[in-house]
Symmetry: C3
Subunit: 403 residues, 3 copies
């Protein structure tokens, strides 16, 4: 009986984490369509190919190098050992965390869209998936979590013996991705004619489809971050929901009913809630999500129109800054005084979030600057004008129409 | 050991209902794309925004007012109390039932498409989500279920001590939504030039995508209506499948291979099967679904061409009348004599279904008539001709193309 | 306590297999959009209708005839007996295996696209779903598994008492579908002007959407093939992932960054891994997937350009030949010497895979040849030039635009 029970518990855990991995995998289709809808028609194919092949490269690098760096486990043993006595739980653990790692190139992709060379960016993605992301991951969730992720570790000793808390990756995933993207976008420079003519997004339905796929999968992203079925929490689900709603409605109001901001506002809310989704009150999550959308809408305007940084999908304000906000907000709205569960430190959240953004921005700068100075990262003027689809993939998004 | 078992049981229940909520949440993307494909290009963005923001407003109203009305539970307590000793099961219960409540504005949206003002309709949606829907819900599934939902209650005393049975909402959700929509559509009036020129749907692939998303998620809608993993029933899944197939193939034949009817026929079958999916035989479900599609195809023609009621997506025949048919059909095909499980009453189903449609039609009339007489519910002629997208959202569905 | 445990185990099994069925059901939306994107605009509606209605016909035939042939179980008993004491597990078992059976017409559909009559092809699909597929299924997984599927059966006596192994259907599903399609495509003949003018695919985003839906659902296809939650295997999930990635990246390189091949390459990897996903090492799966994509890219060129067989979606190389490769590869990379789990026979895999392809090709030839000689299977020249959408469904994919 006890044996049967333990077997069912193990099986349920494998299923739980596998479902999480599948949901977050499906979010990558969301990244793809969000970008397809947000770029011009001549770059839609490139968006699709980048997301799918970055997924492929990330899988291999994270399997061979990144996951071992983060968790100290290697998979280069016979299949029977991989399966082990827990029905291959460690393999779905890898799969789940891979889906997070693969967000890094997917986030960057939206910022550098329409004018980046294909292969140099593959190289950048490989470096992030194999080294940059896993190393930071190890500090919070992995084998080096004594630095940031445990109460009696380095940060804990500063923050009242409270560890840096990032339940589902506002900071570890989204801010790292968004802050890597910022220097990449600046180094790459704006699209040709971006500030001398009018460039518009191509397809709101595809953009919306991308947003929906991301929103749906996000409940797997956040809830399955428990990584153990007995850690499942209805609070995480509800906070995710209310932050998404807060982001949607705040974007509706602040943007004066602009469809692109509304669909991205839902994402802003979800990005901000990841870190503290297990400790905030739903009303707190609503506020955190609403603030996130306001940050996104306002900062996207400042970034792209005033600072003239051509961040096509707004990934720096959306994932970078809102991710940082999520890390900090966890230290505010997670407090018992605000209806939260408690056990979080404002100072700890602030320090951890700032370390992450500095680390990411520096790494992003070094990698893209080095690539620019060696192989070059930007399409030729001629290729950019033809469009990434024809230049890189020798095909248009609607080939019959183009005949 | 018993403690461990109970914990796994609780966790499995939370996961079960969360998956249901996620599936029905994904159906809202289906509502969005079904409408995108069925309206003209100049109203596609409006379709997308309505579904997403109605979801947001419904979430907040149902959280604060609607769910407490239906179930007598409030969430305005600290997060630790929300999480409770059952891992936040009550929160996923809310989430699951929210996904049902949010079907009301999503259904109405398809009927009033292309000419309704944005904010007045938000107000209507808020009233339905906060008051109208939850009150009826309470009579069947909630704290006032002694009226319709219990064998020894008011209706039961009439129907041979058999309660009104609506397993997954043919009546509570779909007929309420569809019968609210009917007066709204009539009060609003047909689109300009609807009956003096030719208006066609814009995009069959998006319409089909919407239908697929709805069909896939529907298995969560019906199966997870058990609300408890130990209530899971393969019969509910199979009946859903066969009703969908019955609807698809009947629409194929009756409509002479018309793609829009075929994709909506699948939905007709699914709407009709909700109520009795747990008590019918699969062959009965096939018949119920086939009849549903015939009702939809024929009545949509009568409604829109003969009665000249411009119900854009046919939500009154589809959700309203077919929902009512589903309530009644449960009392027929659920009988043991027809291979069903039994325990249902034809009279009880008939009375319950009729009460619902009268209640919904009256409430829909009152709300939309009041809004029309106060703030107005219809776009100006000029705005309607420009299209809801430009008039309300200042953007087209394909902005680059429109340049 | 033991009763409670057994109930949860049963419920978990029903849920597990239902989730699998839902995932594979969602793959049919993937088949639909893969075809929508790959055909010309004038055949998009036909693609959508074929997939949805073939699903409907297959459901009924497999329910009444096919499943009983394969597993010796009939469902023509009262609903209470269907529900039984296991919460209707047998019904979700049917649902899950139906989703496999329905792949047969979905695969064929992509090969014969744009010029086949509607109803004759429905008849063909009915024959495959009711008889041809279930009979072969019975030899491997069903009531006649003593022929191929058990160690001490007919094939086992040849292959060292090792049964033919096909965990999730590289051979039983994909190669059967693909090898039925080959004679159908040849008998039907190429599209008009296929080899005298330029014909191009219509929509890469829809093609990519189809591929994503297939890839996501595939984890249900493979993992839930355990058919029992306690059989869940993280190794199956990881092998599926790595084969998909191997296929994606090999197609990227071999096709020189062609978006259509890259998105189909992912599918090639997934088709090849089904058979041995439970016994191979992830590195082996990566190789198997990469080889699959190379086979697909090269053979598609030979088939369609050199042999002038107008296989629109390349279903013979993709599902047929790569499916066969998957059956054989299981006998290679499943060996312990290559890091696999062992217990598979190269000879057994080879024989089983060859029997399947011969059986499928012969059945496909007989059915389509008979239909051609009786009712005819091809649209008139006039109808083909107008397009299948207008000719069969009296509607275009974008009716407003066509006004």
């Amino acid at each position: 009986m006890e044996g049967s029970f333990n077997q069912l518990l193990t099986s349920s855990n494998v299923l739980f984490l596998l479902l999480g991995a599948m949901y977050v995998f499906s979010m990558h289709a969301g990244f793809a369509f969000l970008e397809v809808g947000s770029v011009r028609k001549k770059s839609q194919v490139n968006a699709l190919v980048k997301i799918l092949t970055d997924w492929g490269f990330t899988t291999i690098m994270y399997f061979l190098i990144g996951y071992p760096i983060a968790y100290g486990i290697s998979f280069l043993v016979p299949a029977s050992d991989l399966l082990g006595s827990d029905q291959g739980f460690s393999l779905v653990h890898f799969f789940f965390l891979l889906t997070f790692a693969a967000c890094i190139p997917a986030i960057i992709s939206g910022g550098i869209a329409e004018r980046a060379k294909y292969w140099p960016n593959v190289v950048a993605g490989i470096i992030f998936a194999a080294l940059v992301y896993p190393f930071f991951e190890s500090l919070v969730w992995g084998q080096n979590n004594a630095v940031l992720g445990t109460a009696d570790g380095w940060l804990g000793s500063i923050a009242g013996n409270i560890a840096f808390h990032d339940y589902a990756g506002s900071v570890v995933v989204h801010s790292i991705g968004g802050w890597i993207a910022l220097p990449a976008i600046i180094i790459l420079g704006p699209r040709l004619k971006r500030y001398t003519s009018t460039i518009k997004v191509s397809n709101i339905p595809f953009l919306a489809l991308g947003s929906w796929l991301l929103c749906i999968g996000w409940f797997g992203f956040n809830v399955m971050s428990a990584q153990d079925i007995n850690g499942i929490s209805g609070l995480v689900a509800l906070n995710s929901l209310l932050a998404m709603v807060g982001g949607t409605l705040a974007a509706l109001i602040v943007s004066k009913n602009d469809a692109t901001f509304i669909h991205n506002g839902a994402l802003a809310g979800l990005i901000a809630v990841c870190a503290g989704s297990d400790v905030m009150h739903p009303i707190g999550a609503l506020v955190v999500g609403a603030v996130a959308a306001v940050i996104f809408v306002k900062l996207f305007h400042i970034e792209t129109e005033i600072l003239k940084i051509d961040d096509v999908l707004g990934v720096w304000p959306l994932h970078g800054v809102v991710g940082t906000w999520g890390g900090i907000a966890c230290g505010i709205f997670g407090q018992e005084a605000l209806g939260g569960i408690g056990g979080v430190s404002f100072l700890g959240q602030l320090i951890g979030s700032v370390i992450a953004l500095v680390y990411a921005a520096v790494c992003g700068f070094v990698v893209y600057y080095a690539l620019k100075k060696t192989v070059g990262i930007r399409l030729s003027e001629h290729d950019e004008l033809r469009g990434a689809d024809l230049a890189i993939h020798s095909i248009e998004a609607y080939p019959e129409e183009a005949l």
